[in-house]
Every structure is written in structure tokens, then in C-alpha cells.
Amino acid sequence: MIALIGLAIGLALGLLLEPTVPLWLQPYLPIAIVAALDALVGGGRARLEGIFDEKVFVVSFVGNAVIAALIVFLGDQLGVGSQLSTGVVVVLGIRIFSNAAAIRRKLFGA
């Protein structure tokens, strides 16, 4: 609940303040967001399965976002940034889908 409230407050703050993404963060923020979404959905699944742990959630949230951004950064340095970010998005998307499927099974039994 607090997480959802925090999400809503964050969205409201973003809409109110209309922040500008700093230039150095621009290539990595979308990937970090996708990773954070993956962590969020994974956390929701763990919560529904009763194995939720705030510490795990926080660490995986921050860790996923940082690692995703780092992978993209490394890809940029290696010259395969766009391909690698595509790969990261694909992997995270698959994880989000499987987690969402688990949540769906837990909530609706289907």
C-alpha cells in the first residue's frame, strides 16, 4: 500500500515539477525504469506468494536498475549499446511477463 502510495506521489510530483532528464542519464534511465518495473512486479509476485522481503525488494530494485544501466553503459563503450539495450529490454520484458503471469495465477487462480 505504501509502495502504491509512493508510486502515485512520484507520478504526481513528476507531473507537477516537469523534471528534465539530465543528458548523461538519458540513455540509461529508460532501461533502469524497465529494470525497476521488473523488480516491482517481482516484488508483487513475492508478496502474493508470501515470500516478500523488503530488504530483498529494495536491493533487487536498486541493483536491477543499476545493473541494467551499467550493461547499457558498457554496451555503449563497446559500440553495441543499442543491441545490448534491446537485449536487456527483451530479458526484462520476459521476466515482467512471467511475473505478471504468476501474479495472475495467484490472484485469479488462472
Binding site: G6, G10, T20, L29, I33, L37, L48, E49, I51, E54
Partner: protein, 256 residues
């Protein structure tokens, strides 16, 4: 793995989703359905929950920021170096293609302009038609030239003399020639006739008056050369007078 805020019935359920699907009793213990959702949503004010909420706040903020920045500049600011290089290359190719189109269109335009200069070509064609009309004798003409007057007091001038005079004038560059009231053309002929000479079917009587447009000096010289037309005519008893004129009008025309 149970956090401080976890519900009492949850601690045993540390199995994954697949095992819970097989183990019915565990599955029954886990919160599910609307009740489970409400249980999940029940606020638990712990530091971990607060940290999660804070992270979600950051996430929401970042999502909005990213979405708005994507909306703001969809193309270049967020693009990576290789993407920019690709875009630049695309633009280069497009520019090259457009330049080619421009060249083609310029050529077409030049062609059309030359067609507009077809106006000039038309003018030139009209001038040529006029020149050919003058040469063919269908148009009246004016210009510098000479007047050749052949008097025949003794009746010794034959058609061949007049033909010689005509040919001599033509060789000397006469463009338009009139003999009395007959316009000379390519098919002009001379026939001896009683009391005169038949030219193009018309009987001309002496004196014969040639009007020739061309270079007066050249024609005068050509007619006056020793043993030339003038001498021959004088030998035949004719009187020859050559008068250069700055302006000679040839009025006689031939029907086309």
C-alpha cells in the same frame, strides 16, 4: 525470508509458484483472490515498507520524467552515438538523392527554357524563310546593288547574251535579280523572239534593264572584266551602262 510485516499465515509459504500449484494445502493457505489482494494492500508501516514506497516514488518520478522527455524530443537528444551516425547517414543519402532530383529538375528547366528560346529559333526560322523567299523570288526586296542597262540600237542582243549577263551577276553574288519587270529565279529561261527576248514567257523589249541586289563593287567588276559580259555585249553592238546604287528596290515577284 519472512519480513517483519508479513501476515501470520504466510511464514510457511516459502515455496515457489510451481510448488504451490502442486501442493494444494500450501496453496490454500496463501492469500488469494480479492481477500489476498486486500491483504497485500493493507498498509504496514515498517522501515522496509517505507523504503519500498520511497523507491516506488522515485520510480514514478523517473517514469514521468522519461516519458515527458521522450515526448519533448523524440529524435536526437536521447539517441545514442551509433543511432545518430545512422540518422546522419540516412540524411546524407536522402540529401544526395534530393540533390539528384534537383539536378534532373534543373535539366528539365533548362530544356524548357531552351524551348522558350524556341522563340528565337522561330525568329531564325522566319528569317530563313524570308531569305529563301527572296532567293526564290516570292518576296519583294530592297538593298544595295547595281543597275545594268543594255541598250540595243542595232538589234544584236541575243538571248544568250542576257543569259550570260544573268549568270555573271549570279556568280558575282547577286541575290535578287529583276530583268525589266520579270523576277529572275532558278528556272528563268531566255528565248530569242522577234523584236525582243522571251523571258519566263514574257516578251521583253530593249532596252534591257537588270536590277541586281548584292555587292555593287563585286558585280561591277565582274561585269566589266576584259572579255566579259560588257565587252561581249558591246561587241554585239549594244550599249552597256552599269550604275551602282546604294538602294535598289526589286518589286517584281514570282508566284510560289
Amino acid at each position: 525470508m519472512s519480513g517483519p510485516g508479513q501476515t501470520p499465515e504466510a511464514p510457511g509459504d516459502t515455496t515457489g509458484e510451481s510448488s504451490s500449484a502442486s501442493a494444494v494445502p500450501d496453496h490454500a493457505e496463501a492469500p488469494r483472490g480479492v481477500a489476498g489482494l486486500l491483504d497485500v494492500l493493507r498498509p504496514r508501516a515498517t522501515w522496509g515498507q517505507l523504503a519500498g514506497g520511497l523507491l516506488c516514488l522515485v520510480l514514478g518520478f523517473a517514469v514521468v520524467a522519461q516519458v515527458q522527455s521522450t515526448k519533448r524530443d523524440t529524435t536526437f537528444a536521447t539517441a545514442r552515438q551509433d543511432e545518430l551516425v545512422g540518422i546522419l547517414s540516412d540524411l546524407g543519402q536522402r540529401s544526395e538523392r534530393l540533390r539528384g532530383d534537383l539536378r534532373d529538375l534543373e535539366e528539365t528547366k533548362a530544356g524548357l527554357q531552351q524551348d522558350a528560346e524556341g522563340e528565337a529559333a522561330l525568329k531564325e526560322a522566319r528569317e530563313r524563310a524570308t531569305a529563301y523567299g527572296l532567293l526564290a523570288g516570292t518576296l519583294p526586296a530592297e538593298g544595295p546593288g547595281i543597275e545594268l542597262l543594255i541598250g540595243d540600237p542595232k538589234g544584236g542582243v541575243r538571248a544568250s547574251h542576257l543569259l550570260d549577263a544573268l549568270q555573271e551577276l549570279r556568280d558575282a553574288g547577286a541575290e535578287v535579280i529583276q530583268i525589266n519587270e520579270v523576277r529572275a529565279g532558278v528556272d528563268t529561261y531566255f528565248l530569242d523572239e522577234r523584236g525582243g527576248v522571251l523571258v519566263n514567257g514574257r516578251l521583253l523589249r530593249p532596252p534591257y534593264r537588270f536590277l541586281a541586289i548584292g555587292d555593287p563593287h563585286t558585280m561591277t567588276t565582274a561585269l566589266g572584266i576584259p572579255g566579259g559580259v560588257a565587252k561581249t555585249l558591246e561587241g554585239a553592238g549594244a550599249t552597256v551602262s552599269i550604275t551602282p546604287r546604294a538602294r535598289i528596290a526589286v518589286r517584281a515577284v514570282r508566284s510560289p
